[in-house]
Symmetry: D2
Subunit: 345 residues, 4 copies
Amino acid sequence: MSKQNLRAGLVGLGAMGRNHARVLASLDGVELVGVMDPAGDATGAARGAQVVATLPELLALGLDYAVVACPTVLHEEAGLALAEAGVCALIEKPLAHTAAAARRLVDAFDRAGLVAGVGHIERFNPALQSLRSRLEAGELGEMYQVVTRRQGPFPQRIADVGVIKDLATHDIDLTSWMAGCPYASVSARAVSKSGRRHEDMVAVVGELADGTMVSHLVNWLSPLKERFTAVTGERGCFVADTLTADLTFHANGAFATEWEALSAFRGAAEGDMVRFAIPKREPLLVEHERFRDAVEGKANDIVTLVQGLRTVEVAEVVLDSARRKTSLPLQSPHARNLAALTQRS
Amino acid sequence: MSKQNLRAGLVGLGAMGRNHARVLASLDGVELVGVMDPAGDATGAARGAQVVATLPELLALGLDYAVVACPTVLHEEAGLALAEAGVCALIEKPLAHTAAAARRLVDAFDRAGLVAGVGHIERFNPALQSLRSRLEAGELGEMYQVVTRRQGPFPQRIADVGVIKDLATHDIDLTSWMAGCPYASVSARAVSKSGRRHEDMVAVVGELADGTMVSHLVNWLSPLKERFTAVTGERGCFVADTLTADLTFHANGAFATEWEALSAFRGAAEGDMVRFAIPKREPLLVEHERFRDAVEGKANDIVTLVQGLRTVEVAEVVLDSARRKTSLPLQSPHARNLAALTQRS
Amino acid sequence: MSKQNLRAGLVGLGAMGRNHARVLASLDGVELVGVMDPAGDATGAARGAQVVATLPELLALGLDYAVVACPTVLHEEAGLALAEAGVCALIEKPLAHTAAAARRLVDAFDRAGLVAGVGHIERFNPALQSLRSRLEAGELGEMYQVVTRRQGPFPQRIADVGVIKDLATHDIDLTSWMAGCPYASVSARAVSKSGRRHEDMVAVVGELADGTMVSHLVNWLSPLKERFTAVTGERGCFVADTLTADLTFHANGAFATEWEALSAFRGAAEGDMVRFAIPKREPLLVEHERFRDAVEGKANDIVTLVQGLRTVEVAEVVLDSARRKTSLPLQSPHARNLAALTQRS
Amino acid sequence: MSKQNLRAGLVGLGAMGRNHARVLASLDGVELVGVMDPAGDATGAARGAQVVATLPELLALGLDYAVVACPTVLHEEAGLALAEAGVCALIEKPLAHTAAAARRLVDAFDRAGLVAGVGHIERFNPALQSLRSRLEAGELGEMYQVVTRRQGPFPQRIADVGVIKDLATHDIDLTSWMAGCPYASVSARAVSKSGRRHEDMVAVVGELADGTMVSHLVNWLSPLKERFTAVTGERGCFVADTLTADLTFHANGAFATEWEALSAFRGAAEGDMVRFAIPKREPLLVEHERFRDAVEGKANDIVTLVQGLRTVEVAEVVLDSARRKTSLPLQSPHARNLAALTQRS
C-alpha cells in the first residue's frame, strides 16, 4: 500500500498492554511507534517500538492514536492528556474508575472532535458477535432473560478497583449491547472476603428497559473459571462461552420424552441443540481493526465513550445497591443524554 | 417382625402420588391400606391398596399416617382433616399455597400433638446430604455464597401455584437447611411469559442472617433441565447436581498455571477437583423411612411443619419483592418463634 | 378391542426378566399369563401373572409366545422346548452360548415355521434408530469407521459367558445392522483379570465387507460406564450415546479457526455440531411392540434368529482371534446363507 | 551467570519450527544464533537470530546444538550433517521417515559420541508426566489396558508421511514410556480416504511384552479433536487429556448405587473421581530445558535416539499389519539391543 501507516502508541505494558503490543505490532496499516511504561520493557514486549517512561515523551513521537492500558485509576489523566494533544484514543475498560471521571473523558474527546473508544473486548468475541446477529434476526423470538457468569481465581495483578468495576463492567456492557436496551433497575449483594479493599464477589438481578430480566454472578473467589452468557426466550436458549468462543442454541422441546427413566434427567421434552460453526477470529485483533478503521474515517462499529460511560454509571449503581442492600433504578439514559446535549450546546 | 405394621394412606395419585405409592407399597414396617383420588386409579398405581374417592372414606380405613400429595391448594383442607382425625401426616412441598394456610397447619398438628412433616425431598438427595455433612465438618471453611439453578421445560401437569411456590421452595428450603441459617433479605425479578396465570421465571439475590450471599435462578421456560447447587467459600467450591446425585469439590488453586495457553482457559491456578463416591439411595425412600421412624417415635430427622412454613413465608416475600421490584427483609424467625411460643402457651 | 389378546409367557425373573415382566404386563394386545422361574417371585415382579417353577408348567398355561430371559447357557434348551410346543419366542441376546446351539435354534424355529426373534435391544435405542435412518438417507456420505465403547463396573449378576458373548454381541449386532454390512475380518486382544473364568476385557479391530473400519472396546473392569457409538465418514462424525439416547452430529469444518489460542484446543476448523431432538421411547417397549406385531403377522422389523446366529458366530471368531492373537476372516455370510438355503429346500 | 551460553541453531521455520524459535529465544543459558529455512523468515519468527538458507551456512555460525524441525523425510540428511559436524541435535518426531534412516541416525550420533534426542513432546505434557509418576508409585496396581485416541481435522500442512508415522508415533512412544515396556504384537486396520497418498486413519490393537492390552485410534478425518490416554488397571482408570493437561483418576466403586434410576446411567457402583492439581508448565519448554541440561552434561531425562528408533520400528510394523490385515509380532528389543551393543564394541 502506498498509503501512509497510522502512527500508534501504547500506554502501559502490563498483562493486557503486552497483548495490545503484540496485536499493534502486526496490524495492517498501523505502525507501533512507541510504548510508555514507567517500569520499562523487561521482556521485549514492545517488539522493536521505542520504549519511554512518560506520556510527554510518547506524545513527542507524533501519534495518530494511542491505546490506553495503564491501571484504571490512571485512565482519566492519560485520556485527558491525549485529547489535549489531539490524539485519538482506544481506552481499556472500564473507561474510568468513576462515572465522574468517565464523563470528563467523554466531554474532552467530544470537544476535541477526536475518535475515541473503549476496549470492551467481550463484544468482539465471535460467540457474542454471532449471538447478537441471531437475536437481531429474530431467531429467539421474544427475549425473556439474560444470565451471565464471570468467575475464576484471582489473577495476580494489581486490582485498583473492585470486581464490579473490573469484571462486571464486561457483563453490563455486553448485556445492553446484545439486547440493544439499557438497564432500568438493579438489586445487588456483594462481599469482600479476601482481605482486599474492594468487593470481590457480587450477585445482581435487574431488568432492562424493555422488561428483560437480568442476572449476573461475578467474582474473583471461585476456583472454577467461567465466562458464560445465556439468553432465554420464546424459542429456547442461547448459550455463549467466551473462553472457547462457542455459541450453542437449545431449541424448545419438539418431542415429549416418553421414556420415563430419561425424562427425569433431561426434562419433559427436548428440542435440537446446535453448536454453531462460527468463524473464530481473535477478539483483540477485531477490536483493533475496527478502531483503526474508525480513526481512518471508515464506517466502523466501535464501543463509544458514551457507551463506556453508561456502563460505569450502571456499575456505580450496582455498587450502591450492594452497599445499601436495596433495589435502585437507573436514571433514564435518554434524560441524561438530553441533559448532556443541552449542556454541550 | 412380630411388630404391627403402621397403616398408611395416600391422598392423591398424580405424578408424585404414584411415586409415593410405589415407595409406600414396599416400605418395611408399613402397610399401604388405602389411596384416595377422585379420579380413581386407571394405571394400577395403588398396587393392591384400596382406592377411594373421598377423604372420609380414606380415614374410615383406620390410618396411623397419611401422605398428602394432592394439588397444593388442597393441602390445607386435607391436612386439617387429618389432624382433626388424629392422623399423622407427611405433606408434599410446598406445605401450603399461602403462609397463612401453612400457619394453620402448623397450629393444627401442634395442638393435636401429632407427628407431621413436609416432603422437601431435595434435602434427602445423596449429594445434598453429603454436602451438608461436609459443610458441618468445616471442609469449606467460611461460607461465602450459595447459588442454585432449577430450570427446565414445563412439566405437563396442573400448576395451581407459580414457579416460586412450586419450584423455588426447593431452593429456599435446601439453602437454609444446608447453611443452617435463615434468610435475612431478598431481591427478586419475575416474569410470566407462557400465558399462565402465575410467574414462570424468577431470579433472586439475597443474604442469609450470617451474611452469606444467595442467588437463585428458577424457571419453567428453559429447554435445559438443571438442578444445580454451588457453595463457594474459603477453601473452594462445592457443586451438587441433584439429578445425578453428584457432589464435586473444586479446591482453590494449589499450583499457578504457568503454561499461558492453558491459563487463559482454566484460570490462573488450579486445585484438585474431586467427585465424591457417595452411597446413592433413592431420596424418596429415605424421606419415607425417616418419616416412618418419626411416627414410630424413634429419633428422626424430618422436615418439620415450622420449617415448611418458614419456606412458604420466604417464598411470599420473594413474590412480593418481584412484584414491587424492591429488596425486602425477612422478619426474624427468632422473633416470630418467640411470638409463636408465647401464643401457644 | 374385541380382538383376543395374545397369551404371553416369560422364562426367567432375573434383572432383565423383571424388566420384561413390567413391559409385558402393560403391553397393548397382550396378556402376561405366566412366569417361570425356579426361584419363584420374591418381589412381586410377575405383576399378577401366575408364577411356575418349570417350563412344562408354563407351557401348560397355553401360550402364543414366550420371552426367554434365563441364563444364556439355558437359551437352547428353553428355545427348543418352545419350538417343539409350537410357541413363538423372543429370546434374549446372545441367542445362545455357542454358535452351534444358536444354529440348532435357527433350525428348530425354521422347521416349525414359528416367528422367533432375538432381544438385541440396542437396535431399538432411539439414538441408534435415528442414526441408522440418517445413514440410509446418505447424511454422512461414505462411511469410513465405526467405533464402539461399552464398559463399566461389573454388574453383580451371574456371568455364564464372558464379556465378548455377553456384551460385545451388542456391538457386533448394532454395527452390522447399522452399516447394513457383515464383518469381513477381526483382530482381538482379551484378558481375564478379575478371577472370573471368562475374559472380562476385549479390544477388537476389524473391517466390514464394504471396507469400513471397525473398533470395539468392551469390558467389565472400568469404573466409567459408557455406551458409545461413533460413525465417522465423508461429511463428519455421528456420535450416539445409548445411555441417554442422544445422537449428535459433528460436521466437518466449515470455517478455519484463525484464533490461534483456540485452534490448539479445538482443531484447525470447526463445523456445526447438532444434537438432534428425537422421540425417545423406551427401547424395551419398542422391541416388544415389534415382536407382538410380528406374532400377529403384521409387517415387522424384528431381529431374526439368523441375524442372532451371525452375531454369535462373529463373537466366536473374536474369541478365537483373541486366544490365538491373530487376525481372522469371517466366513462369508452369503456363502453360508446359500448353503442354508440349499439345505432347507 | 558468568557461564558461557550454549549456541543453538534451528533447522526449519514451519509451524513447529516457529514454536521452537519462540522457546529457544528465551531459554536460560542458551543463545539462538541462527535459523535455517530455504523459504526465509517472512513473519519475524526468528526473533533476531540470523536467518540462512542452507545447512552449511547454519553450521558456519558455530553451534553447540541444533533443533531439527524440517519435514520428516529430511531428518536423516540434516541429522547426519550435524553429527558429521560434531553438533548435538534435538530431532523432531518421528526420528526419521523409515526405520532404516532412523538406525543410521542412531549409529551416526553414537559413533560421534554426541548428545542427541527426539522431540516426542507428549512425554513432557504435565498430564502424562504425572500419570507416569503415579503408575510408578503403584497407584493403579496391576495395569490392564492402555487406550489412546488422537484425532482431529487435518492440519493444513505438508504431510510427507501418513498418519501412522506422523501422529501414531506419539501414541507408540508415550505408551511404551509410560508402561515402561516394549510392544510385543500389533494388529491394525488403516484406510486412506481423503485423496492423500498415505493412510489417514488407523485403528490398532496390540499387547506389550508384559501382557498389557493396547488400543490406539488415530486419524486426520474427524471433526472432533481429541488427545486422550486412558490406563485401566486393578484400582480404577486414569484418564489424561493432553490438550488441557488434565489428569483424572476414576477409582473403582466404593459404594453400590442402590438408586435404580441412577445405576442405569452411571453403573452398578461408583468410586471417587479426582482431577489432580498438577503444575502445568509448557511441554515444549520442559523438553528444551531437559535437552539443554543434557548437552551441558547434567543429569537428564531426554528421549534417546534408540527410543525414537524403536518407535519408528513399531510404526512400520503397524503399517505392515494394516496392509496385510494380519497380526504381527515385534522383534524383541532386547535381542536388537544386544546386537547393537555387540556392534558398538
